[in-house]
């Protein structure tokens, strides 16, 4: 487990060194620099590690989405967010995103 955990978390931690600063949070897409990893790049990097890549990719994606914001294009020109094309290729993808937002608003 530790090795499967380090990869997505290290990729996420690296964003600190690449221009995504304190206070960015879920709505901070505008503060992402051009050199920071996008959601797509981070997820692809996590998958390239091989092994149990599905859950690692989920972990990397969750971190980067929390950091950069939601779907690409949904909050201005958010090139670092979840690609709209990817959402479209997931069955009930938009519905899942809507549920996630509702979940975050429950408390």
């Amino acid at each position: 487990m530790p090795h499967a955990f380090v990869l997505p978390v290290a990729l996420f931690a690296l964003q600190d060194a690449q221009g995504v600063g304190s206070g960015s949070g879920a709505a901070g897409a505008a503060s992402s620099s051009s050199s920071s990893l996008s959601y797509e790049e981070g997820v692809r990097a996590a998958i390239r590690g091989g092994g149990c890549c599905a859950s690692r990719a989920i972990a990397a994606g969750a971190c980067l989405a929390a950091l950069h914001g939601g779907e690409a294009g949904s909050e201005g020109d958010n090139a670092h967010g979840v690609p709209t094309a990817w959402v479209g290729r997931v069955r009930d993808g938009q519905q899942l995103l809507d549920v996630a937002v509702k979940l975050a608003c429950l408390r």
Partner: protein, 250 residues
């Protein structure tokens, strides 16, 4: 305390029933595919812990395993990280705005140490993890990931700040037995220490990359450097963490 135990058992069994309906052997996912079945599968795919859960829960030869007995006692795969994501959203979703967090008090400042809220998050993550993975290691790593994600969503913490806060949240869980609350097993404490070291390792790797100037802000290079990727990707295949010495928490 007793109420919380019953509440988590209720939630756990409810989630197990939902998993049954969505991913069980009677669902559209069908019977569990044999290990040697040709890949890719001709149909929907379940990850390992869900397959184990479905096999255990849906075995007609055995009495239905109720929560937490429905969780595998030998599964510590990274599947548990996925369990933590919606829980972190639920427990952390109200304070995305750092200004609002600051107005709510110092406890919610970016990078602040654990609070009652983060403890409740950890307990809820443990409950949902044990539905499919009833192991201390899976629970500890899911708690670490939930704490990390919660820091970013709730407090707008920067990544390295969030990692340090997640380490502190794990350490805070170790003090429960000392305050007259129910403590947990030594194995659980060891698992949390392993998760904390993994967080520290990730933090060290990122700090080293930052220190090397390869990935610093203002650098036009796209993404992490090749040496960083090589090192980090090696952790996908090499279970030893001994090559990197975690730095103490600031």
């Amino acid at each position: 305390m007793l109420f919380c135990i019953f509440l988590h058992a209720y939630i756990g069994e409810a989630l197990a029933n939902a998993f049954d309906a969505a991913f069980g052997t009677d669902s559209e996912y069908g019977p569990i595919d044999p290990k040697d079945s040709p890949k890719p599968l001709d149909g929907p795919w379940r990850h390992g812990s869900l397959k184990g859960f479905a096999a255990l829960r849906g075995d007609p030869k055995q009495t239905k395993k109720l929560y937490p007995a429905c969780g595998l006692t030998s599964d510590s795969q990274a599947d548990c990280l996925a369990r933590a994501v919606p829980v972190a959203a639920l427990f952390s979703g109200t304070r995305r705005d750092p200004a609002a967090a600051a107005a709510a008090g110092s406890q919610d400042q970016p990078g602040s140490s654990s609070s009652m809220g983060s403890r409740a998050l950890s307990d809820a993550v443990a409950a949902v993890t044990r539905v499919t993975q009833n192991t201390d290691v899976a629970v500890a790593f899911a708690q670490a990931f939930g704490a990390l994600l919660g820091e970013v969503v709730a407090r707008g913490s920067a990544p390295l700040q969030a990692l340090a806060a997640a380490e502190k949240a794990l350490l805070a869980l170790d003090t429960r037995g000392e305050n007259g609350e129910d403590g947990d097993s030594e194995d659980a404490a060891d698992a949390r220490e392993s998760a904390r070291q993994a967080l520290a390792t990730a933090r060290t790797l990122a700090s080293q990359e930052q220190g090397s100037g390869s990935g610093g802000a203002g650098n036009d290079q796209k993404g992490p450097s090749e040496p960083f990727l090589r090192t980090v990707l090696s952790y996908a295949a090499v279970p030893s963490l001994s090559e990197v010495t975690p730095k103490p928490i600031a």
